[in-house]
Amino acid sequence: MYKPEFRYYLITDRKQSTRRTLVEAVAEACRQGIRAVQLREKGLPGRELYELADEVRTITLRYHARLFINERVDVALAVGADGVHCPESGLAPAAVRRLSSNLLIGASTHSLKAAEQAAAGGADFLLFGPVYQTPSKMKYGDPQGISRLKAVAGAVSIPVYAVGGITPERARPCLEAGAYGVAGISSLLQAESIGQRAQEWKRVLGGL
């Protein structure tokens, strides 16, 4: 079984990277020790996404960080990413696994059932949330809360990352509920100092 070497999973969103370009933000995060990046840029045409992914691949390789591409297995294969991240509405982990035995597979899940399915389908790790209220995940309904996170972490044998409104202060209960790590967008992307924020995460997670 794959034991991820990262405890913090940075998810991108160019629209939330308002203080600096997304590429600058990713580069700074990796420089500050972030070890896994999921490129999740909705609405970008394939060519632009490929070019951005290629650029981010260069950065992540330079800092020995893992790169996951949201949804697009073709783009992940084309740029030599480490893995694919499957949203619930995208290709299922099992379908991705049939396309490539080498890609790591992360999967976003919003229910216990989806988490069990993704794990059975060959996902290497899961995201579960939103644990707390967060503007970017409002469409997934009310927050799941710590108790459901705990149920999911207890039900699957692969690592589960808590996602959704998680700040360094709120991370402790997630870890106590069984989360392997934390995933987030705005915490790092919108930080005034990415370095300082990364240090906070490192402290609370016991490593990045």
Binding site: P45, G46, R47, E48, Y50, E71, R72, V73, D74, V75, L77, A78, E88, S89, G90, L91, A92, A95, V96, R98, L99
Partner: protein
């Protein structure tokens, strides 16, 4: 490619009509002898798109009809299709080639220079459009017409697919102007009897 790419190219559409699914339209197209069928739905979530592609692949399996997926080489591979069609904003053709090997890759063009470039990038066919006014897909430029089709036919050696506003009435001129294939959506999908409409278009190539 085993046989020359020539004939009718159907882009199934379930927005301009809701009577038939992608799979049902594909079945009728296969029956009628349509040469290529393309799945295109940029808004469908990938899981849903994959189900459509798989359903269509069941219909084209064992037939001479080639199944193409718009924009997504990964859906081609996961869904059991035969190739991909790439617009100018989609993955670069050489990148798709690395993923798909000898499968079919088509590229979009709207001018002679673009068609030449698409061929140079390694496309197996070049689509040119839109030839006539079309309402299926919004286009920010004027129809390309038959003259440019003739020029593109002269300028490239791969098959040329004419697309945009083609009907049973104007299709003969398009073929006359040198199109190896005519791509249609409304002309078949919106017909009272799609299979019959497809057959009439297929017969133009006999």
């Amino acid at each position: 490619m085993t046989k020359k790419l020539r004939g009718v190219y159907l882009i199934t559409d379930t927005r301009i009509q809701q009577r038939f699914s992608h799979k049902e339209l594909t079945r009728q197209a296969v029956q009628a002898g349509v040469r290529m069928v393309q799945f295109r739905d940029k808004d469908a979530p990938a899981a849903e798109a994959l189900n459509h592609v798989r359903g269509m692949a069941e219909e084209t399996a064992g037939s001479d009809t080639i199944l193409i997926v718009n924009d997504r080489p990964d859906l081609v591979l996961a869904g059991g299709a035969d190739g991909v069609h790439l617009g100018r904003d989609d993955l670069p053709i050489p990148v798709a080639r690395r993923l798909l090997g000898g499968m079919i890759i088509g590229g979009t063009s709207s001018a002679v220079e673009e068609a030449v470039q698409v061929e140079r990038e390694g496309a197996d066919y070049v689509a040119l459009g839109h030839i006539f006014e079309t309402r299926t897909k919004h286009k920010p430029y004027v129809p390309r017409g038959l003259d440019i089709l003739k020029q593109v036919r002269q300028a490239v050696s791969v098959p040329v697919v004419a697309i945009g506003g083609i009907t049973l009435l104007n299709a003969p001129q398009v073929i006359e102007a040198g199109a190896d294939m005519i791509a249609v959506s409304s002309a078949i999908c919106k017909a009272d009897d799609p299979e019959k409409a497809a057959r009439l278009l297929v017969d133009l190539f006999r």
